[in-house]
C-alpha cells in the first residue's frame, strides 16, 4: 500500500469473510440449499399421504405436518444413505459403499467438467462434450477390446488413445474457430452429431460390433485394459477417480501457476489486450479446445474402461457431456470448484437410486434439484436479492464487449 494514508490493512479474516459473503461461495452454497428446500416442497406435495392428510388439514393439521416431515426427511435421509454413508449398514464397509459409488459417479462428471472449465476460462463455450466423449470412448474402448496387449501397458495405451480422441475432436473445432472464425457453439454441436452417427455406423460394421451379434454393441473390454479398483474388491473405488484427482491438481496448476494458463485466462478475459500483449490469441484458443477435449476424453475413457466394461453402444456418453456444463457452472469454472460440484452431483445421482427404491420418490426429483441449482447459479442477482447479500464491490464496468450484454 502506497501513498494513501486512509487505508488500513484489512485483516485477513475480515477479507475472507467479505469475500465469502459477497463472492461466489456463499451464493453457490445458498443456491444448493435453496434447491433442496424447493425439492423438499415438491417431494411433500407429490407424496400421497401428504395429499390425503391435506384434505382434513383444518381439522387435524398435525397429521399433515407430520406427513410432510415424514416424506421429506425420509427422502433426504435415504438420499444421504445412498449417496454418502449408509448408517443402516452393519459395518463400515457396507456404509461407505455409498460414498464410493458417488465418487465413481462423480468421476466422469469432474473430468468433463474440468475440460469445459478450461474452455470457459479461455472464453470458448465447449458444448461438444458429447461428441468428444463418444470419440474418446470409442478410441479407448477399441484399444481395450481389440488389441491384445500385456497388462499395464494395455491400460496406459487405452487411456492415451481416449485422451487423444477427445483432444483431436475438440482440436478440430479450435482450428476451425481460429482459421475461419466459425463459432464454436455451432461447430461443437455439429461435431456431436458427426461423432454420434459415425459411432452408430461403426457399430453396424465389424470394426466395432461384437462378432456374432446383431446388436449395435461392442464386445466386452479385455480385463487387462480395465480401470481397476484402487482399494481392492471390497471397497470399489475406480482408479479413474485417482486420475481425476490428478487432473484437478493439473488444471489448478495449469490455470494458476503456468505460463500457458496465464495466456488462457488473459485471452478469456480480454482478447484484445492479450493480442496487444503479444499473445497469439488464435493459437491459445486451439490449445484451450484441445486441452478441453483431452479432459472430456478422460470422461469417455472412464465410461468404457471403468463404468460400462461389458461392451458399449452409442449411448455411452450417458448425457455426461451436457451434465458436465452444469457441474462447471456450479463449480464456477475453478478446478477445485468443479471437483466439489462433481462430487455433489455424484452424491445426488447415487442417492437418488436409493431414494426411489426406499421411499418411492421419483428419481426425476434429483434432476429438478440439479436444474434449480443451475437456475440459481445462472441468476446470481436473484439469489442475492432473496438473501439480501451485498453486491460484489466491483466498479461499474466500462463498455466492454460481451460483459455488457451479460449484465443487461
Amino acid at each position: 500500500m502506497t501513498g494513501s494514508e486512509n487505508t488500513a490493512p484489512e485483516s485477513r479474516s475480515a477479507r475472507v469473510l467479505r469475500e465469502i459473503a459477497s463472492g461466489g461461495v456463499a451464493l453457490t452454497v445458498l443456491s444448493v440449499i435453496l434447491a433442496f428446500v424447493i425439492g423438499g416442497i415438491l417431494i411433500a406435495a407429490t407424496d400421497p399421504t401428504v395429499q390425503q392428510t391435506a384434505g382434513y388439514f383444518f381439522a387435524r393439521p398435525t397429521d399433515m405436518l407430520s406427513a410432510v416431515w415424514q416424506s421429506v426427511s425420509g427422502a433426504y435421509a435415504s438420499l444421504f444413505r445412498g449417496g454418502v454413508y449408509d448408517f443402516t449398514a452393519p459395518d463400515f464397509q457396507g456404509g461407505i459403499v455409498s460414498l464410493l459409488s458417488s465418487l465413481n459417479y462423480a468421476t466422469p462428471l469432474i473430468a468433463a467438467g474440468l475440460g469445459i472449465a478450461i474452455g470457459f476460462r479461455t472464453g470458448v463455450f465447449n458444448i461438444g462434450g458429447q461428441g468428444q466423449m463418444l470419440i474418446g470412448a470409442t478410441a479407448a474402448g477399441w484399444v481395450g477390446f481389440a488389441l491384445p496387449l500385456p497388462a499395464g501397458i494395455h491400460l496406459i495405451v487405452a487411456i492415451i488413445a481416449g485422451l487423444l480422441g477427445g483432444m483431436v475432436w475438440a482440436g478440430i473445432v479450435g482450428l476451425l474457430k481460429a482459421r475461419t472464425g466459425a463459432h464454436e457453439v455451432i461447430v461443437t454441436i455439429m461435431m456431436n452429431y458427426i461423432a454420434l452417427y459415425l459411432l452408430q455406423f461403426l457399430l453396424h460394421t465389424p470394426v466395432l460390433r461384437a462378432p456374432g451379434s446383431q446388436n449395435p454393441q461392442t464386445p466386452a473390454e479385455k480385463p487387462t485394459a480395465l480401470l481397476f479398483s484402487v482399494f481392492g474388491p471390497n471397497y470399489d473405488l475406480s482408479f479413474g477417480f485417482v486420475l481425476v484427482v490428478a487432473a484437478t491438481i493439473g488444471c489448478w496448476w495449469l490455470l494458476s501457476r503456468s505460463s500457458l494458463g496465464f495466456k488462457l485466462r488473459a485471452v478469456g478475459e480480454n482478447p484484445r489486450a492479450a493480442r496487444v500483449a503479444g499473445i497469439n490469441v488464435n493459437r491459445t484458443i486451439v490449445y484451450a479446445m484441445a486441452l478441453s477435449g483431452l479432459l472430456v476424453g478422460l470422461a469417455g475413457v472412464y465410461q468404457v474402461l471403468g463404468q460400462n466394461t461389458t461392451g458399449f453402444g452409442s449411448d455411452i456418453d450417458a448425457g455426461i457431456g451436457f451434465n458436465a456444463i452444469t457441474v462447471t457452472l456450479l463449480g464456477r469454472s475453478r478446478p477445485w470448484g468443479v471437483f466439489a460440484a462433481g462430487i455433489v452431483f455424484g452424491i445426488l445421482q447415487a442417492g437418488s437410486n436409493t431414494m426411489q427404491v426406499a421411499q418411492g420418490v421419483d428419481i426425476d426429483i434429483v434432476t429438478v434439484i440439479q436444474s434449480i441449482i443451475v437456475l440459481f447459479i445462472a441468476a446470481p442477482p436473484l439469489v442475492r436479492a432473496i438473501f439480501r447479500l451485498p453486491a460484489p464491490g466491483s466498479r461499474p464496468r466500462a463498455a466492454r464487449s460481451k460483459k455488457v450484454a451479460e449484465a443487461k
Binding site: T2, F262, K263, V276, N280, V404, A405
Partner: protein, 505 residues
C-alpha cells in the same frame, strides 16, 4: 436544480474512498472537482448517479433527500453523467446507445429516426462529427467520448456530471465543450466538472473543490494560479514544465518509409507516411484525434493487417515480425485505449504487470510462473510509480482511471527498451503523476532510446517533443522543431502549412 451532497461516505473493504464529503452545486454554476488520481472523485459521482450505494450521507436535490437504487432513478431525478470509463454498449450503434434507457417507441417500434435526428442535432450544436449509425465498437476512444457527451446532453438533465470528459478531446473540441457548458450554465443547469487540466479549470469554473485521500481539503478560487491549484491537489509543489536538455542524437533508429494503412472498411487511414526517429530523440505526433495516429502506431507494432511500406528499427524489419517478436525486440507500447488494449481488468495489478512478458524470463521459467519474483517486482513498481492501491492483488478494474494508466506505464517502462511508442501516455493522470511520467519519458530518451509520443494535448507535445510531426487526414502535414509556436501547430493540425514555417527533415 440545486445539488447538495452531505457527509457522503463510501468504503471499499478497508479503503475509505469518500470520507464525509460535502459538496454544494447551485443551479447555473460550474463546480470543478479537483484531486489526484484515486482521490475519490469518480466514486463520489458514481454515488450521485446511483451506481454505488453510499455507506453514509445524503443526496439532496432542491432540498429534498433522494434515494437512488440505480442510475435509472438518478436519470429520472434529472441527473446526467458523462463517465470517465464509458458506459456504452459496443455492439449498438451511436443512435441506439443514445436512446438506451429512455427508448421512445412508435406503435411498438423503437423510434430510431428520432434518435438519429437527436444525435445529428446535438453533434451539430457541438461541432462534433459523429455518424449516428456507426457501431460504437468501431469508433476510436475520442469519438466514443463524444458519444458519451451526446448521450448525457440528450436528456436535458438539470444536474450534469462530467467526469474527465476532455481527457481524449482535442483543444478545439475542448473549447467547444466548454462553450456548451457555459450555455448550459446560463440555462440554469448545475454542472460538476472533473478534470486534471488546470487551464480548463480556470477557464470555466465558478467554484473549485479539492479532494485529497477521500476528504475535502478545501476550496480554491478560479483565479488561483496553476501551481497553487497543483500544490493543493497533491499536497506538494509540482514542477509544471519538464526539465529537458537538448537531445543527443545517436543516429537513425526507427525509419518509417512510405507507410500506408488501409482499415477494415477499405479506407486509407494512413497515407504514405515517412519519417525517422533517432536514438535519443522524442518525436511527438500531434493532430486531432482520428487523423491516423492510432493506426500508425498500430502499424509500427504489427497490429494492422493491411500495411504497405517499410518499418525498420536498427535495421530490423518490423513488418516481418509478429507482435510477440516486436515486443521481445524491445518495443514498449502504451496503447491509446488502456481498458480495451492494455489491461485485463479482471487480473490483479501483478498479473497485468507481466501481461506482455508471459513467455520467458524473468516471469516464466520452464513454463511456470515465477510468482515470488512477480510479487516483489509488482511491489517495487507500485511504489515507484505511486499506484494508489490496497495491494498488488487488487484487480486492476477496481483502480481509479489514473492509477490504471500508471500500471500500463510501469509495465512498459520497466524493461529493456529499444523503442518506446506511447499514445496519450498521460491520459487521465493528475499533475503530479504527469510530472513523474514526463520525467520518465525524457529519461528513456536520454538513455538513447528513440521515443514516439502521440498526443492530442498540445501542452504535452510542446513539453516533450524534440521534433513534432503533425498529422492530418492520414498524412504528415509537416515535421517541425519542438519549439514551434502553438498557433502554427494549431494551423497545421487543421491541415495548413503556414508560410515561412521551417520544416525539419
Amino acid at each position: 436544480m440545486k445539488l447538495e451532497l452531505q457527509g457522503i461516505t463510501k468504503t471499499f473493504g478497508a479503503l475509505v474512498a469518500n470520507d464525509h464529503i460535502d459538496l454544494e452545486v447551485e443551479p447555473g454554476e460550474i463546480h470543478c472537482l479537483l484531486g489526484e488520481n484515486g482521490a475519490g472523485k469518480s466514486t463520489l459521482m458514481n454515488i450521485l448517479y446511483g451506481l454505488y450505494q453510499a455507506d453514509g450521507g445524503t443526496i439532496l436535490l432542491d432540498g429534498t433527500a433522494q434515494h437512488f437504487a440505480g442510475p435509472g432513478d438518478a436519470m429520472r431525478a434529472g441527473i446526467g453523467m458523462v463517465h470517465q470509463h464509458f458506459m456504452l454498449i459496443p455492439v449498438f450503434t451511436v443512435a441506439e446507445n443514445v436512446m438506451l434507457g429512455h427508448e421512445q417507441a412508435k406503435l411498438g417500434f423503437l423510434d430510431l429516426p428520432a434518435a438519429r435526428a437527436k444525435v445529428r442535432e446535438i453533434s451539430a450544436r457541438f461541432g462534433f462529427d459523429v455518424d449516428p449509425d456507426a457501431l460504437v465498437e468501431d469508433l476510436p476512444v475520442g469519438v466514443q467520448q463524444r458519444v458519451e457527451i451526446i448521450k448525457a446532453l440528450s436528456r436535458n438533465a438539470q444536474v450534469l456530471v462530467f467526469d474527465e470528459p476532455t481527457a481524449v478531446l482535442t483543444p478545439q473540441e475542448t473549447d467547444e465543450l466548454m462553450a456548451i457548458m457555459r450555455q448550459l450554465k446560463e440555462a440554469g443547469t448545475a454542472i460538476v466538472f472533473i478534470t486534471h487540466k488546470l487551464r480548463e479549470v480556470r477557464e470555466v469554473a465558478d467554484r473549485i473543490t479539492v479532494i485529497r485521500l477521500g476528504k475535502v481539503v478545501g476550496e480554491a478560487s478560479p483565479t488561483a494560479t496553476n501551481s497553487e491549484l497543483a500544490s493543493l491537489m497533491v499536497g506538494r509543489s509540482v514542477e509544471l514544465t519538464v526539465e529537458k536538455s537538448g537531445s543527443v542524437s545517436g543516429g537513425h533508429a526507427l525509419t518509417v518509409d512510405h507507410v500506408t494503412v488501409i482499415d477494415a472498411r477499405g479506407q486509407v487511414v494512413v497515407d504514405d507516411v515517412s519519417f525517422e526517429v533517432q536514438a535519443g530523440e522524442i518525436l511527438a505526433i500531434a493532430g486531432v484525434q482520428g487523423n491516423g495516429q492510432t493506426e500508425l502506431t498500430e502499424a509500427i507494432l504489427g497490429l494492422e493487417e493491411h500495411v504497405t511500406g517499410g518499418i525498420h528499427l536498427d535495421g530490423l524489419d518490423l513488418r516481418q515480425l509478429s507482435m510477440r517478436k516486436i515486443l521481445d525486440a524491445g518495443v514498449g507500447f502504451v496503447p491509446e485505449d488502456r481498458q480495451e488494449d492494455a489491461l485485463v481488468p479482471e487480473f490483479t495489478i501483478a498479473e497485468n504487470l507481466m501481461l506482455d512478458r508471459s513467455d520467458g524470463e524473468p516471469f516464466v521459467k520452464r513454463g511456470t510462473l515465477q510468482l515470488g519474483y512477480l510479487r516483489s517486482f509488482a511491489a517495487d513498481k507500485v511504489k515507484e510509480f505511486d499506484v494508489r492501491t490496497q495491494g498488488i492483488d487488487t484487480l486492476v478494474g477496481r483502480l481509479s482511471g489514473g492509477n490504471q494508466q500508471k500500471v500500463v506505464l510501469a509495465r512498459e517502462l520497466s524493461r529493456e527498451l529499444r523503442l518506446f511508442v506511447a499514445a496519450q501516455p498521460t491520459r487521465g493522470l493528475d499533475v503530479g503523476s504527469i510530472e513523474f511520467v514526463h520525467e520518465r519519458i525524457v529519461a528513456t530518451r536520454d538513455a538513447g532510446v528513440p521515443v514516439i509520443v502521440i498526443s492530442t494535448e498540445l501542452d504535452e507535445v510542446v513539453a516533450l517533443a524534440d521534433r513534432i510531426a503533425v498529422m492530418y487526414r492520414g498524412r504528415i502535414v509537416g515535421i517541425v522543431p519542438g519549439d514551434t509556436p502553438r498557433d502554427v501547430l494549431g494551423l497545421m493540425m487543421a491541415g495548413e502549412v503556414p508560410h515561412g514555417t521551417e520544416v525539419a527533415a
